[in-house]
C-alpha cells in the first residue's frame, strides 16, 4: 500500500463524504417538498372523505371519496343517500380510474387540417368558440347551436340552457343510449304519465321481470340491488319469488328463482299470455276491479272486454308455439301472480333484446295495475330523471338535421353517438358536415374524433355540480381533488365563453357561484330553518338534500286501455320460423361493467370477469351449444356476423343458457378510439342495429335475422374459469325452501376457527390462541348477486395489479377475491361463489413456506409478509382454495394511474405472493382508533373494502370472539357451511347456503 499523506487523506475523506451525501439523495427526495405551512384538511397519511355524487351512469348514487395526501384513491357509497344507501357498484368503484386515466385529454386542443390534434391555450380555445357563437347572436338565426350531453339536471342543466339561449338556441339534447322509450310510452298509455317511476322492489312480494336487468344496468342498479336483497331474503320461513323471462340468462336472471327462456321477441308473447290468463280468472283473483276497491286499475267493464278481446289470441298453446313456454309453466306463473298482494312486474322497455318492447311493457303495466298493492311498489310522484332524456327518434332527427346542414355548431359533452347509434343513421357522416364540432369530453372517443376543438372538462371527481336522479333527491358534487391536468369545469367554460357572447346573461364568476345560487333557492323551497350558508354546509357534508320518504303515495291516474293493439302471436311464431330458415336471432345486451360502453376505458373493468361468462378483455359472441354444434362452431372461432346493416366480428363462446338459434353480444366492446385499454378485434355489436324506430321512438333490435360464418381462425378467449362446473364437489351449496324451513333449528356443519374447533383425534398441533379478536367473514350465497362490486373495491383498495389480456389467458389474473360462477342443471342454473382467502385456522399454506412468509396472527388473520416471501410458491400449491396470487411480473401502472395507489398498502413487486388480507390496513386503523379510546372495536365499526361496497349485503365481517356480533349469530345458522370442510382447514370464511325455490 502506498503511503497516504494527511492532506491526501483529508481530500479523500471529504470527497467520499460528500459523494455519499449526494448519492444518498435519490431523485425522488429532491422532488418531495415537505409542507412548511401545510394546507388545511391535509394531514400526511390521514385521509379526508368528501361527499359527492357518482356520475358514471344516470343512477346518480351518493359517493364518499377518500382523499389521501391530496389525491383521491378510493370511493365508497354515501350511507345517507337514498338511492344507494352506502354502496357502490363495480362501475362506481372503478371511477377512480377515470380521473387518472392515461388517455385523458390533458388540455385544450385544436384539430389541424391533417386531422391531428395540437395543443392550444385556454384563452385561444375559448375565443374560437365564443367568436363563433357571437356570430349567431348578431345574425338573429335560431336553432343553429346544438348542445349534446348525457343526462343533466339541476344547476348545470339550467346553465347549459342559459348558454344556449345566449346564442339564440334551445337545443339541449340529453342523449342516453338507454332511454327506455318503450317503457315511457307504455307508462303513458297505461298510467297516463310519460315518465319512469321509482320502483320499490323491497315493498313487493312477487317480482316478475321481462328482460329488465335491474341488478346490472336497468335504471338504477345499486338501488334495486339493495331493494332486491331485502325482497329476496327469507323471512319467517318464507321467501318472495322472482321470475325472469328472457332469451338469455343474464346476471339478473341468474338470481331469479326461475328463468323462463324465450326466443328474442317472446317476452311480449308470454306477458300477453299471462295477461289473458289473469283476465279470464274471476274477480277474486286476477283483476281486482272497482268492485274490489282497486284504485290502481278501475277498468270499466267495457274496457275489460276490449282488453280481453285484444289478448284473446294469446292462448297458452299459442304462447307455446311462439316461444316454447309450456302451458303448465304459464299457469303456474299466473297462479303465483294471482296469490301475490303486491307483485311488481318489470319490463325492460328497450329494443336491444326485444323487438316488441312496447307491447311487453304495456302488458307488464296492465298486470301491475290489477293489484292495489302496486301503488306501493311503483311511485310516479318521484319519477326518474331518465324521463327527461330524448328518445332515439330525436337523435335520428338530429342526425338528419346535421346532414342537411341545419346545425352549425355542435357541442358535445359525455355523449358518444357515433358508438351507440345505428350506423344507418350516419351520425358519423353528419358530424363531418357540421362546420364546428366542439368536444368538452374528458376522454377521446369515437365522437370526439370528429371534433374540431377539444376543451376538456374535469371529471366528476374534480368538479362542482349537482345531480338529481329522481324528483326529490338532489345530490351535490364537489371536487375531491384539484384538477389533474389543464382541464376546467364545464360550468366555468360556459360562463367564460357565454360572457364573451352576452355578458349580462352570465353575472356569476364561476360554476361554484351558480351552484350556490341554485342551492339557496333550494333552501328556500325546502323551507330550511337554518340560514343559507349553514344549509349549504350541511348539504355539502351530507352529499345533497332529499325529502324524507312519504309513506303514502298520491293517487295515480287510472289505467286505460285505449288504443291497445298487440301483434298477433302467430306473427311472432312465423317470424320465428322464418328466422330459423334464414338465419339466427341477434341481441346485444348492456353489461354491468361497461354500461352502454362508456366505462370500457377502465382497466379494472376490462379485467373484471363478466359475471356469467367469466370472460375478461375483448368481446365475444354467445351462441347456444346445440346451435354451435350444428354450425360446427367451437369456442374461440372468430365469427363474422352479417346483417343487412353491416357486419360485426367476435370470438364464439358457446353459452349454455341462451335460447337456441340466437346470438348475443355484450355492449361495450368494439371501441375504435377510446384509448389503449379498449383495443380488441371484436367490433361493436351496436353496428348491427336495424336503424328502424319503434312506435315508442326507440331503436329496434334485433336486426333482421343474421348470418354467421367462421373466419377460419381461433382466437384465445381470456376467461378466468378453468371449468364451468362443480363436478360433484359441492363447493357452492344450496337448499330448497322446504329443506330450509324444516332444518332451521339444525346445528350447522361448521368447524369453528377457534380453540373450540380443535379435536384431539384429528389435530396434531395445538390450537391458535386469539387475543381479543378472531376476524371472520360470512358470505351469504342467497344474497350474493354476482355483481363484482366487491372485486373492484378490492382492486382499488389493495393496489391489485391489472395484468392484461394475454396474462389472463395464462391464468395469471390477480384478483384477491373472485366471483366464481358454476353452472348447475337445476334452477337457478348458475351459482355464484365469492372465493377469497379463507384465513384458515389451520392453514395448509403456513406450514409449507420455508421462510415464514404466511403467518397466522393473533387475531386469526393469515398474514402474507411480502418482504419475506422468496417466491417458492409452495403456499399457493398447498392452498386447496387456490386464492393465492403470485406476481409473475412487476405489473405496470400506466401513468398517472399510479396516483390511485393506496399508500397504506404495499405495492408488490415481482416474485412475491399475495392474497386477501381482510384489509388488514383497515383493521389496524380501527384497532388503533379503538385503543386510543381505551376500548375494543365495535361490531360494524369498520369493514373491509369488499364488505363495505356489497350492494346486497352478502358479505358480513366481524369478530367471532364477540358473542354479540352479527357473525357470531350468523355462524350458528343451519345454512352455514365451510367450503372443503373435510380438509380440516377450519376456514374463517363461512358460507350460508343459497335457498332455492321453484314456481308451484
Amino acid at each position: 500500500m502506498a503511503k497516504l499523506s494527511r492532506r491526501q487523506f483529508l481530500k479523500a475523506a471529504c470527497l467520499a463524504g460528500t459523494s455519499a451525501l449526494v448519492g444518498a439523495c435519490s431523485d425522488a427526495t429532491r422532488r418531495l417538498i415537505p409542507y412548511v405551512i401545510p394546507p388545511e384538511d391535509i394531514l400526511p397519511g390521514d385521509a379526508t372523505w368528501y361527499a359527492t355524487t357518482c356520475r358514471e351512469c344516470p343512477a346518480g348514487c351518493g359517493m364518499l371519496a377518500k382523499n389521501c395526501d391530496g389525491r383521491v384513491i378510493k370511493v365508497e357509497g354515501n350511507p345517507l343517500h337514498p338511492v344507494n344507501t352506502g354502496k357502490l357498484c363495480a362501475r362506481g368503484q372503478a371511477s377512480v380510474q377515470g380521473i387518472y386515466n392515461p388517455d385523458r385529454y390533458r388540455g385544450p386542443m385544436v384539430r389541424g387540417g391533417d386531422g391531428k390534434l395540437s395543443v392550444i391555450s385556454w384563452e385561444s380555445a375559448e375565443k374560437v368558440l365564443s367568436d363563433r357563437l357571437s356570430a349567431f347572436g348578431s345574425n338573429g338565426r335560431r336553432e343553429k347551436v346544438v348542445f349534446l350531453t348525457d343526462l343533466r339536471t339541476g344547476a348545470e342543466r339550467d346553465l347549459i340552457g342559459r348558454w344556449l339561449a345566449a346564442s339564440g338556441s334551445t337545443q339541449h339534447v340529453m342523449y342516453e343510449p338507454f332511454a327506455y322509450e318503450a317503457l315511457r310510452k307504455a307508462n303513458q298509455t297505461v298510467f297516463g304519465t310519460d315518465a319512469i317511476p321509482t320502483y320499490y322492489i323491497d315493498k313487493a312480494d312477487f317480482l316478475l321481470s321481462f328482460g329488465a336487468n335491474f341488478l346490472e344496468t336497468w335504471v338504477s342498479n345499486v338501488q334495486f340491488a339493495r331493494q332486491f336483497a331485502f325482497f329476496h331474503a327469507p323471512k319467517e320461513g318464507k321467501k318472495n319469488a322472482f321470475v325472469y323471462v328472457g332469451p338469455r340468462l343474464s346476471m339478473t336472471a341468474a338470481n331469479a328463482d326461475q328463468w323462463i327462456m324465450v326466443p328474442p321477441g317472446g317476452e311480449s308473447v308470454v306477458a300477453l299470455g299471462l295477461l289473458r290468463l289473469m283476465l279470464n280468472q274471476g274477480p277474486e283473483t286476477g283483476d281486482r276491479g272497482p268492485a274490489n276497491n282497486n284504485p290502481a286499475s278501475a277498468l270499466t267493464a267495457d274496457e275489460r272486454a276490449a282488453l280481453k278481446a285484444s289478448v284473446a289470441p294469446f292462448t297458452p298453446d299459442a304462447v307455446k308455439r311462439a316461444t316454447g313456454v309450456k302451458p303448465d309453466l304459464l299457469a303456474a306463473l299466473a297462479g303465483q301472480l294471482a296469490r301475490a298482494q303486491r307483485p311488481l312486474i318489470l319490463a325492460e322497455g328497450l329494443g336491444y333484446q326485444d323487438p316488441k318492447a312496447y307491447e311487453t311493457a304495456v302488458a307488464a303495466n296492465m298486470l301491475c295495475s290489477f293489484f292495489p298493492g302496486n301503488l306501493q311498489t311503483t311511485d310516479f310522484s318521484s319519477p326518474s330523471s331518465l324521463s327527461d332524456v330524448v328518445k332515439a327518434d330525436r337523435m335520428k332527427a338530429l342526425a338528419d338535421a346535421m346532414l342537411s346542414g341545419e346545425v352549425h355548431v355542435l357541442v358535445i359533452d359525455r355523449a358518444n353517438p357515433v358508438f351507440n347509434l345505428p350506423v344507418s343513421w350516419q351520425f358519423e357522416k353528419a358530424l363531418r358536415t357540421v362546420p364546428m364540432v366542439v368536444s368538452f369530453s374528458s376522454y377521446p372517443d369515437e365522437t370526439g374524433e370528429f371534433a374540431h376543438l377539444v376543451l376538456p372538462t374535469n371529471t366528476f371527481l374534480e368538479s362542482w355540480g349537482d345531480y338529481s336522479p329522481r324528483r326529490g333527491v338532489h345530490g351535490l358534487l364537489q371536487p375531491v381533488m384539484g384538477p389533474l391536468f389543464e382541464t376546467r369545469q364545464l360550468g366555468d367554460i360556459l360562463l367564460s365563453t357565454g360572457r364573451k357572447v352576452k355578458p349580462e346573461a352570465f353575472p356569476e364568476k364561476d360554476l361554484y357561484e351558480v351552484l350556490r345560487k341554485a342551492w339557496s333557492k333550494k333552501a328556500k323551497e325546502a323551507g330550511a330553518a337554518a340560514p343559507s350558508e349553514a344549509f349549504w354546509q350541511e348539504s355539502l357534508q351530507k352529499g345533497g338534500v332529499w325529502a324524507a320518504l312519504k309513506e303514502e303515495r298520491p293517487a295515480r291516474p287510472r289505467a286505460t286501455t285505449d288504443s291497445l293493439i298487440f301483434s298477433r302471436p302467430e306473427a311472432s311464431a312465423a317470424s320465428q320460423s322464418e328466422g330459423l330458415a334464414k338465419g339466427l336471432g341477434f341481441i346485444a345486451y348492456p353489461t354491468i361493467q361497461f354500461f352502454d360502453g362508456r366505462m370500457a376505458n377502465r382497466p379494472f373493468l376490462q379485467e373484471m370477469p363478466d359475471p356469467v361468462t367469466q370472460i375478461t378483455w375483448a368481446g365475444w359472441v354467445e351462441i347456444n351449444p346445440e346451435t354451435a354444434r350444428r354450425l360446427n362452431i367451437e369456442k374461440g372461432d372468430m365469427l363474422t356476423v352479417r346483417a343487412e346493416q353491416g357486419m360485426v366480428k367476435g370470438a364464439a363462446f358457446p353459452y349454455f343458457r341462451i335460447a337456441p338459434d340466437t346470438l348475443a353480444m355484450p355492449m361495450g366492446h368494439g371501441h375504435s378510439a377510446f384509448g389503449r385499454y379498449t383495443q380488441s378485434e371484436t367490433t361493436n355489436p351496436l353496428h348491427l342495429a336495424s336503424g328502424r324506430i319503434d312506435s315508442a321512438g326507440g331503436v329496434i333490435w334485433p336486426a333482421a335475422t343474421v348470418a354467421v360464418e367462421k373466419e377460419g381462425r381461433v382466437v384465445p378467449i381470456a376467461n378466468t374459469d378453468g371449468s364451468a362446473f362443480q363436478h360433484g364437489r359441492d363447493l357452492v351449496r344450496s337448499i330448497s325452501l322446504q329443506q330450509y324451513r324444516s332444518t332451521m333449528a339444525a346445528v350447522p356443519e361448521v368447524t369453528l376457527p377457534l380453540p373450540q374447533g380443535w379435536d384431539k383425534r384429528i389435530d396434531y398441533y395445538p390450537p391458535h390462541q386469539h387475543i381479543d379478536y378472531r376476524w371472520v367473514m360470512i358470505v351469504d350465497l342467497d344474497r350474493c348477486i354476482g355483481c363484482g362490486a366487491c372485486v373492484i373495491g378490492c382492486y382499488a383498495e389493495n393496489n391489485v395489479g391489472v395484468v392484461g389480456r394475454r396474462e389472463v389467458e395464462r391464468g395469471r389474473h390477480m384478483a384477491w377475491l373472485n366471483i366464481q360462477r358454476y353452472f348447475e342443471a337445476d334452477q337457478p342454473s348458475i351459482r355464484f361463489l365469492p372465493m377469497l382467502c379463507q384465513h384458515c385456522d389451520e392453514a395448509p399454506c403456513e406450514s409449507v413456506c420455508p421462510v415464514f412468509g404466511p403467518q397466522h396472527n393473533a387475531e386469526g388473520i393469515n398474514n402474507q409478509v411480502y418482504n419475506r416471501c422468496i417466491g417458492t410458491r409452495f403456499c399457493s400449491q398447498n392452498c386447496p382454495y387456490k386464492v393465492r396470487r403470485f406476481n409473475w411480473f412487476t405489473w405496470k401502472h400506466d401513468r398517472p394511474l399510479q396516483w390511485q395507489l393506496n399508500p397504506d398498502v404495499t405495492v408488490r413487486g415481482k416474485g412475491v405472493m399475495e392474497k386477501c388480507s381482510f384489509c388488514i390496513q383497515r383493521i389496524n386503523a380501527a384497532r388503533i382508533q379503538a385503543r386510543s379510546e381505551n376500548r375494543l372495536i365495535r361490531d360494524g365499526e369498520f369493514s373491509p373494502a369488499c364488505v363495505q361496497t356489497c350492494p346486497a349485503d352478502a358479505l358480513i365481517f366481524g369478530n367471532l370472539l364477540d358473542a354479540q356480533s352479527r357473525v357470531s349469530k350468523l355462524i350458528k345458522q343451519a345454512r352455514a357451511y365451510q367450503v372443503l370442510h373435510e380438509l380440516n382447514t377450519k376456514p374463517g370464511v363461512i358460507y350460508l347456503k343459497k335457498i332455492t325455490q321453484v314456481l308451484t
Partner: protein, 450 residues
C-alpha cells in the same frame, strides 16, 4: 502384453493404470467441438435465465393453478439421477459387489454433477426472488429470523446439502490415489495440479489404511442418504394436501424411481464412454447386465406404485382423488401418463430376456426410454396433479414454453459439459479399486483372474 486379447480375459494388473490414464491425453478436435457447443448453449441458457431474472418468472410458461413447472421437474429428475450414482459407488461397495468397480467413479461423478445442477433449480431458477434465496439457510441475522423447519422445502435444503457434501467427500476421497497415479505420469502444470489435489499421496501403508477407513465411513454415510434424500424430496409433494401429491407411497416410490432413472442414466452415459475410450474390458458386458437386472427390480417397484395409486384413488371413495386420477389417465396429460407407464414399468421387463440385456443397443435404447419415462413421470405428478385440483374454477393447463425448455436443455448441456470435462481431465475409472479387485499380478490372467 499388448495385442489381441479375448474379452473375457480382461485387463492385466500392469495394464490398468496405463489403459485408464491413456484417456487423459490431449483430446481430438471432435471433443473440443462438442465441448464448445455445449458451453455455448450453457451460456445461452444462462442468458435466458438472466432475462427471467430481469422480467420475472412470468416469462416462463407457468399457468396457474400450476405454480410449479418444469424447473421443479428438473430438480427432482436430477436428484434422482444422482441417487443411482451413490447406489453404485456406496451401497454396492458395502455389499461388496465386485462388478461395480469399473463404473463407480463415473457414477459418483454423475452424482456430483447431477446434485450441483439439481441445486441450481430450486435456489436460483425456480424462486420468485432468487436474490434472497439465502434466507432459506439458517444463518445468524440481525432480525433473529429462523427459516421454518416445518416446511418440506427446508428438509430439502438440509438433505440435499448434506447429500452433496457427503458425496463430494466420498468421491474426492476415492479419487486421491488415482490423482496421485495421474500426477506420477504427468508433466508441467498438470503435474502440479494433480499433485495439489492428490495431497501428497505416496501410497504408504498408513495412507492406504486411512483411505480404506474413510472410504468405508463415507460409503456408510452416503448409503442412508440415498433413501432419505429422495424421501425428503418426495415429501415436497406428499406433505401437500393436493390429490395426486398427497400419497404415503411417495417415499419408496420416489426412491425406487430415482434409482431407476439413475441406473438408466448410468447406462446412457457409460455405453458411449465405454465405446469411445475402449473400456470394454473394464466396463464389461457383465457389469452392464447386472445394472440391467437391477433396473428390472426398480421398474417393478415403480409399476407397483402406479398400480397402488390407481387402486387408492378408487378405494378411497374420495371424489377429488378419483377425479384427479381419471384426469391423469384420460385428461389432457393422458398421453404423457401412458408414455410414463410404458417406458418405466413395461419397457424394463424386456431385460428378463438374456439376449436383450446382453445387447448393447437394446441396453442403450431401453435406458433412453426409461430416462424419458422418468422425466415424464415427474412432469405428470408435479404439473399434472396441480392442473386439476380441488376448485374447478382454478383449473388450468400448463405447458413449458421456450424459456422453460431452453433452461432445461441448458441443464442437460451443463451436465454433459461437466461430464466431458471429467472424462478428459480425471481418471474416469477407479484404478485403485480395479486393481484391488484384480488378483496379484500374474503372468497370465487379467483383472478378474480370480
Amino acid at each position: 502384453m499388448s495385442g489381441a486379447m479375448s474379452k473375457e480375459e480382461g485387463l492385466r494388473f500392469s495394464e490398468v493404470n496405463q489403459e485408464i490414464l491413456r484417456t487423459l491425453q490431449a483430446p481430438g478436435r471432435s471433443y473440443w467441438a462438442l465441448l464448445s457447443l455445449l458451453f455455448l448453449f450453457v451460456l445461452f441458457a444462462g442468458g435466458v435465465w438472466g432475462y427471467q431474472l430481469r422480467y420475472g418468472l412470468g416469462v416462463a410458461g407457468y399457468h396457474p393453478a400450476g405454480m410449479w413447472g418444469v424447473y421443479l421437474v428438473n430438480f427432482v429428475f436430477w436428484i434422482g439421477i444422482a441417487h443411482s450414482g451413490t447406489l453404485i459407488s456406496a451401497i454396492l461397495y458395502l455389499f461388496r459387489a465386485r462388478w461395480r468397480t469399473g463404473i463407480s467413479r463415473a457414477a459418483e461423478a454423475m452424482t456430483i454433477f447431477a446434485v450441483m445442477i439439481a441445486g441450481l433449480f430450486p435456489a436460483f431458477i425456480h424462486l420468485g426472488r432468487p436474490w434472497v434465496f439465502y434466507w432459506i439457510i439458517p444463518y445468524p441475522n440481525q432480525r433473529f429470523l429462523w427459516p421454518d423447519f416445518q416446511s418440506p422445502l427446508m428438509f430439502d435444503v438440509l438433505a440435499v446439502t448434506t447429500y452433496f457434501t457427503v458425496s463430494l467427500l466420498f468421491w474426492y476421497t476415492g479419487l486421491v490415489p488415482d490423482l496421485a497415479a495421474a500426477r506420477d505420469r504427468a508433466q508441467g502444470l498438470r503435474r502440479k495440479l494433480y499433485g495439489l489435489f492428490a495431497m501428497g499421496w505416496s501410497g504408504t501403508d498408513r495412507q492406504w489404511h486411512h483411505y480404506g477407513a474413510s472410504y468405508l465411513l463415507l460409503a456408510g454415510l452416503a448409503t442412508p442418504l440415498v433413501i432419505s434424500v429422495h424421501s425428503v424430496v418426495s415429501w415436497d409433494f406428499a406433505l401437500a394436501i393436493i390429490p395426486g401429491y398427497h400419497s404415503t407411497i411417495f417415499p419408496p416410490y420416489f426412491v425406487a424411481g430415482a434409482i431407476h432413472s439413475g441406473l438408466a442414466m448410468v447406462l446412457t452415459l457409460l455405453i458411449p464412454l465405454r465405446k469411445i475410450f475402449h473400456f470394454e474390458k473394464i466396463i464389461t458386458l457383465d457389469t452392464l447386465e447386472k445394472v440391467a437386472k437391477t433396473t428390472i427390480l426398480m421398474g417393478l417397484i415403480v409399476g407397483y406404485a402406479y398400480a397402488v395409486e390407481c387402486f387408492i384413488a378408487w378405494y378411497s371413495g374420495n371424489i377429488f382423488e378419483k377425479q384427479s386420477f381419471l384426469f391423469r389417465a384420460f385428461g389432457y396429460y393422458a398421453p404423457l401418463f401412458w408414455i410414463m407407464c410404458f417406458c418405466n414399468a413395461i419397457a424394463p421387463l424386456a431385460f428378463f430376456w438374456r439376449k436383450v440385456r446382453r445387447n448393447i443397443y437394446c441396453l442403450f435404447v431401453i435406458a433412453i426410454l426409461i430416462n424419458i419415462g422418468m422425466y415424464v413421470e415427474r412432469f405428470v405428478i408435479i404439473c399434472g396433479s396441480m392442473s386439476h385440483d380441488f376448485v374447478p374454477h382454478a383449473w388450468g393447463i400448463y405447458w413449458p414454453n421456450w424459456v422453460d425448455i431452453t433452461i432445461t436443455i441448458g441443464s442437460f448441456c451443463l451436465f454433459l459439459f461437466l461430464f466431458m470435462l471429467f472424462a478428459k481431465f480425471l481418471p474416469s475409472v477407479a484404478m485403485a479399486e480395479v486393481k484391488e479387485d484384480a488378483g496379484p499380478p500374474l503372468r497370465r490372467g487379467g483383472v478378474y483372474a480370480r
